[in-house]
Symmetry: C2
Subunit: 384 residues, 2 copies
Amino acid sequence: MSSIEEIGSIRIGVIGGGQLARMMVPPAIHLGLRISVLAENEGSSAERAADRVGDYRDPETVTSFAETVDVITFDHEHVPGEILRELEARGVAVHPRPDALQFAQDKILMRQKLGELGVPVPAWAAVADEAALQGFIDAHGGRAVVKTARGGYDGKGVRVVSHASEVRDWFAALAEDGRGGQLLVEELVDFTRELSQLVARRPSGETRAWPVVETIQRDGVCAEVLAPAPVADPATLDEAARIGITVAEGVGVTGVLAVEMFETRDGRVLVNELAMRPHNSGHFSIEGSVTSQFEQHLRAVADLPLGDTSMTRPAAVMVNVLGGPAEGPMPVRYAEVLAAHPAAKIHSYDKQPRPGRKVGHVTVTGDDLAAVRAEAVAAARMFD
Amino acid sequence: MSSIEEIGSIRIGVIGGGQLARMMVPPAIHLGLRISVLAENEGSSAERAADRVGDYRDPETVTSFAETVDVITFDHEHVPGEILRELEARGVAVHPRPDALQFAQDKILMRQKLGELGVPVPAWAAVADEAALQGFIDAHGGRAVVKTARGGYDGKGVRVVSHASEVRDWFAALAEDGRGGQLLVEELVDFTRELSQLVARRPSGETRAWPVVETIQRDGVCAEVLAPAPVADPATLDEAARIGITVAEGVGVTGVLAVEMFETRDGRVLVNELAMRPHNSGHFSIEGSVTSQFEQHLRAVADLPLGDTSMTRPAAVMVNVLGGPAEGPMPVRYAEVLAAHPAAKIHSYDKQPRPGRKVGHVTVTGDDLAAVRAEAVAAARMFD
């Protein structure tokens, strides 16, 4: 490892070439940090910064990439833990560390850890067969949420079921896998809304939390984010921040952590999912916060002091562009959309349209949440 | 030229690899526009996006670069007009167009044009010899400002003189040049402060003006920018905006135009200089405006609708980092500076330190100008 004085900067390597890596590039340019990306393939969203294209499951590829940077971080949570532990053994700084990342990679491990930390979660069990699953379903009102422990995202690997036979294919796949895996089953929570708490933590321990946000999902995919979450009960918002910091410290997260939560009809907050990277629920922060989640992630993984997470304006709303214009990436509609919404901040991930695909997002900031939301929704809809 | 539907984006080529090109890259990434840079040399500030390194004075280099993009724009005003006219003749979109850019390239042409437009300027003359210059000096109080018509910036090519002999070397150089050039001489304006009016204009005619800002120069170099300019007389601010738009439309500027002005002791506003590109006086807009000058420049040169130029917060102050830390680029001080100023937005151009060199800047936004300014100055000074 070279010193910052020798290089004149800090070199950050991002594994994964999606939109999260792409959106780390602007703050790296502004701060004068050097960022490079190991992308899965040519033409990926972060191609601009992608010095290297290769397979993140190949130890050789990852190791040689790591030799060109001062710290390794991630656009996704899929890099095998054994590769990352090998990097750490060679003295490479990896953030988040594999010991923390395992909890984002395996939902059953995560539930166990949250239990140890005393963080409120829905009732859950790890089940190895249909009989055990049916027992849980029957004991929790006849319906439950079943999740694969690994590999799910954006509603993939999640099913709401009444009968254990509805996930027979998943049990069959686990049996074939031969590692004796289990499925996670959880009570179906009667929630009034979903919240997301973003926090950042640096290796030397400093943490910063953003105001908790409300996330609105459609078909299991994040559709809108309201920042800050319109206040119901201030105690709920304090509780969300407390949980976020407890998890970050308890799990030893370095970088940005997103804690997705349910707010229940009876006023409790329960943790649903964790992500150890910048997260869709934090995209509002590019314009809405003094320090965006992408800048903060870079600062955190480089072990630099964290930035102010205050809102820049009273309200920010982010709306995802899902699918995108039939005729091509979002710029094909710019002549109309930019004219109609001069204050909307348009983000295109330079992706080809595909039904349901996250191809970009729109953020509007301002004083009045309802007005801001109406404008963000209207602008995003023009890309449908 | 390919259509936006075929490419899925708009490809913008920037000639010049300095910090202005560098700061165009983040908004290009966010908007999903494809940006490439023709840099002067390896290791330039915009290296991240520099696909190509070459000499902008070489027609072959510029032409082959232009073939890879949909529109050509600039980080500086030094590309010879004949090369740009040749590009236009081949059907390449060039913004600002060479017919406009000539007024930024030649201060005497610019003074003539401003006169035609009825824009208030200091008394001036184009002088070909010492006798003519001395005549002007004597007629204007015994001191005057002499400027080379071409090639000056940041106080270079500008001298305040009492005797014509003080610029004998410049006359000698003009004589050697053999093109019969003249020097520009202007009255020494008794100004109370300097203002800068940024406007953007797209080829199809739409213009947008930012709030006028106050610029504070030290040794001929921009040191601080206060946005918006602390109000003395609202009529002055309206007059600045009117002048900016008059110049943009009158000269046919496309892209961002900066009009640097003097506010005189007797309440007049006089135009000092023009720049047809993003400008140091507009760096505050990255965080301080809904649409930054860099995003607006890209939108304008791509002939896309322009964005909202409102302030995001009541006050923004930008302070240049001149020279930089003796021990290397700005990140060598981040451990201390980021800890002391978590709300300051730090911009490093990834340049080696050199006395007086612009190596980065700091912007702070907030409600109270005095508090914002104090914090921005304190943060910037930590890089000295």
